[in-house]
Symmetry: C2
């Protein structure tokens, strides 16, 4: 049985929602768990779940619902970690100083083989640094990158790098392309993923030096990558490609702008409906439709981003994750383990 290590202490709603989401996933997806964190706090949460079940308003159109959990049927191991890395700490320093922190020990569990993957909703920097140092890099990969799955009008696309590397070379972006297409094919099930470079125009000569050089490099390796050229920001959601390659600075700005734009639009619409009585009534009637859209684009459905390029599976979740998001993050981790995405990336470089 696949076992997922969970940094139970990381994230805005830790450990309550993190433990709940992990246990929920264990029941729904048939995975074993290794919950890493303060033992007494975790056991307290488990006791509560055994008695009360899990409360969540996700995937229900907004209603709170109770999910009953039968802990006796689940394989849950608790690993005590006496320290916690806080959000503000410098990642590199923190992981060296706090060797008994929940994230470091959760990654250690994967490194030692006691678990198959780690899910972390705390400091992204700490999750990346501990994975890089604890698991090491895959052969052929200079820098691990974050693969973020985004909803579009049709099927989900992968944006890589979502924020691990702010300064990149064309060679790094070439490796991101390899990792992104391997993820798209094996985890998302897209047969022949189309890879595009995020740019400000379609033509080969467009964009900054990095984008231009990356275009050339990917074009030269068409036998290995199904390269479809430059992709503009407004096309991202039109399913014109399956993997969007960019440096981590541009990728992170792009992802956060997407988040900012949609949250602004929903708020504007809410305000607009409030202006008169008719609006209030129509707004109320529209609510279920809005909720369905919101659910389609909500990060909670995607659960987490994969840190690709390390020798192991690390899923990085949104700091705001509640149980439902963590449950989906565990699903992503399980799929990544079972489809052997890392083995396939490694194999790519052996051939």
């Amino acid at each position: 049985m696949t076992r997922i290590a969970i940094d139970a202490m990381g994230g805005d709603h830790a450990p309550h929602e993190i433990v709940a989401g992990a246990v929920w996933a264990a029941q729904d997806y048939g995975v074993a768990l290794e919950l890493v964190g303060k033992q007494d706090r975790i056991e307290q949460e488990l006791d509560r779940i055994a008695q009360e079940g899990i409360m969540s308003d996700c995937g229900t159109g907004g209603r709170q619902r109770r999910v009953k959990i039968d802990l006796s049927k689940l394989d849950i191991k608790v690993t005590h970690a006496s320290e916690i890395i806080e959000m503000g700490e410098a990642p590199g320093q923190a992981i060296r100083k706090k060797k008994k922190s929940s994230i470091v020990l959760a990654v250690d569990a994967v490194a030692s083989g006691s678990s198959d993957a780690v899910v972390a909703a705390g400091s992204t920097g700490a999750a990346m640094a501990s994975s890089l140092f604890g698991l090491g890099r895959l052969p052929g990969i200079d820098r691990p990158a974050i693969a973020v799955t985004l909803p579009t009008m049709k099927k989900p696309i992968v944006v890589i790098d979502g924020g691990a590397n702010s300064n990149c070379t064309p060679e790094m972006l070439y490796q991101f392309a390899i990792m992104g297409q391997t993820f798209s094919k094996n985890v998302l099930g897209i047969e022949k993923p189309r890879v595009g470079v995020l740019n400000i125009g379609e033509e080969a000569g467009k964009g900054n030096e990095l984008a231009q050089a990356t275009y050339k490099l990917l074009e030269e390796h068409q036998e290995k990558i199904h390269f479809v050229g430059n992709i503009e920001g407004k096309e991202i959601f039109l399913s014109v490609c399956d993997v969007v390659v960019c440096d981590g600075f541009v990728g992170n700005v792009a992802l956060k702008i997407t988040e900012g734009t949609s949250s602004m639009l929903f708020r504007m619409l809410k305000n607009e409906f409030k202006t008169d009585l008719a609006g209030k009534i129509i707004g109320l009637m529209s609510k279920p439709f809005m909720k369905r859209i919101y659910r389609k684009i909500n990060y909670e459905e995607f659960g987490g981003a994969l840190l690709l390029g390390v020798k192991g599976i690390t899923v990085i979740s949104h700091g705001r994750s509640k149980a439902y998001a963590i449950k989906n993050a565990v699903r992503v981790a399980k799929e990544a383990v079972e489809t052997g995405v890392n083995e396939k990336i490694a194999k790519f470089y052996e051939e």
Copy 2:
């Protein structure tokens, strides 16, 4: 009277919608016009407008309406241009080869003083290149940049550079900050514009080398710039600053992602309402509310982006612009001329 030169042949709907929008602005905002392009085509459009008025569905909640125009009261000059620069042409080459093109002659009109500003909806590259070569740079400015006005929950913000310069230095971004705050203050009327650097985290050490160095440079010049630190993509629409500084590659990606996200959300909502009869009815009732939001975020309301840093006013409009967008672009040009934004940028460097 302020006279605006219009590249009547540039844009997807030229010359029909371009001439219509310009004439509409002349009547509503009291500006004189210099319409530059194929004389017979422009006169044909003017004849039609004199007889039929202008048809537009903008700012009316979707209904087509007719705007009556009394040409006899307007000051309209037509300047013949025998050539047109097409969208695909390399800008630098094209402006050298096609000296009688509408965009080159429209910029010449500003350079010679016969007009005060130019509005162009054709090739952005050609508008930039002809402005740079035809008007020259303002003292203190190495590279002109595009200032794009974006709607937010509260007041509009300025993103600079919106796409003129893909490869930037910190010094260029410092100049963008100066130009952006001068525009925000003088054209948008924001008393003490708050300037932020677009970045992937709040802390000073975040982001790529360019963002880090720009942070330092702006921090050192706090007496000249009201610098409020790094701004993340998701905060852009929360009115935490008035001017967002970034390189033209990141800026252009950000703007297009905003466009792509909102158009995806509107389409998703439309599809969602289509799923059953109740949805269709609620969708129909929601339409006026959606339209109001759409209008608030629509580029047509903002009309055009200003190319700052050249000795003259160039307003660059969306290629898809119809009459209403061009009308607003002419308004932006008029405001830029009358508030003397260029003189104020130049003065900044004299002090």
